[in-house]
Symmetry: C2
Subunit: 184 residues, 2 copies
């Protein structure tokens, strides 16, 4: 073990470069004690996001096959989206699952909350695991995915190993559930 003195950067101030309802770009005036002082770019989002690993012992895990224009990639994703004003992360997780898949998730339990890029962006992701789901009908938001499908857990493990889950929220949620929730 290597012991070092407690290390915490000092924040002297912050100025906004650009602001909008979706994203704020700031420069934070920070100092590494005894070393250097500089301006650090920070992206602030006024919202967080919530996503759900919906698991049914017979069907597997409920996934969307979708394209992302930003990275120009296709991949499997769990249902997920923005937590709206006045909504709890769990309520958002249920709403997004219904809208995007047409399935109402069973009882939810929180897996974890984390910061996907904590050196650059303050956005938080809330992950949930749902026990089963009830089919309501077609997705009410069909703009998200090309396909909605239950993937058996062995096929899901193979999809992760094949690099077919490149979306961070989905990859983290699925790996967390595989490591901690004994999906098999």
């Amino acid at each position: 073990m290597t012991e070092q003195p407690p290390m915490r950067w000092t924040v002297h101030g912050e100025r906004t470069i650009y602001d909008s309802a979706w994203v704020r770009l700031c420069l934070v005036d920070v100092e590494i004690p005894g070393r250097e002082r500089f301006e650090h770019h920070v992206v602030r989002t006024p919202y967080s996001a919530a996503g759900t690993v919906v698991h049914d012992p017979d069907r597997g895990v409920l996934l969307l096959w979708r394209h992302r224009f930003l990275t120009d990639t296709w991949g499997w994703e769990v249902p997920a989206g923005m937590v709206e004003a006045g909504e709890s992360p769990a309520d958002a997780a249920v709403r997004e699952t219904i809208e995007e898949t047409g399935w109402r998730p069973g009882p939810l339990r929180p897996l974890t909350t984390y910061h996907p890029i904590n050196g650059l962006c303050d956005e938080a992701f809330h992950l949930f695991l749902a026990d089963g789901a009830e089919h309501l009908g077609d997705p009410t938001d069909p703009t998200e995915a090309a396909r909605v499908e239950w993937l058996p857990v062995p096929a899901l493990r193979q999809a992760v190993a094949d690099g077919q889950l490149r979306d961070g929220l989905s990859l983290t949620a699925v790996c967390y559930a595989l490591a901690f929730a004994s999906l098999d």
Copy 2:
């Protein structure tokens, strides 16, 4: 299974709102076919990042206990950082481990590459698993962490369950390794 027509947003153009060596903020003119057309905020980074789960069967996993000013949180993180110009992700993973921990990682194998916030930011994270490590001395970059420590795998699993890994790259890397690399 719910079948839908292939769904891919159309990109009509992109304009830059702010540019720097660290981050570029853009508005992308996108259209959801048959639905709506709007401008979508996108954060582009000219770099990617690489991080490593360094695992030793006797010691456990090599971690940093550090503070993040952006989220004002303390947590365990794996050694990680930016891939520099002309550097491969694997070379960056080795360099960052040495700089931040003072340990040279053993043979690396790639776990996966993913996009931590693929609806907002194009940054990619490259994850590696290293087999053991050799102690070289003190970290050459001691500004990153308050403590460098080997955590036995059961303690690491407990730390994840206790919410002590809120840094996305670290959480994803550790959960991926726990689910796919049989660390125990």
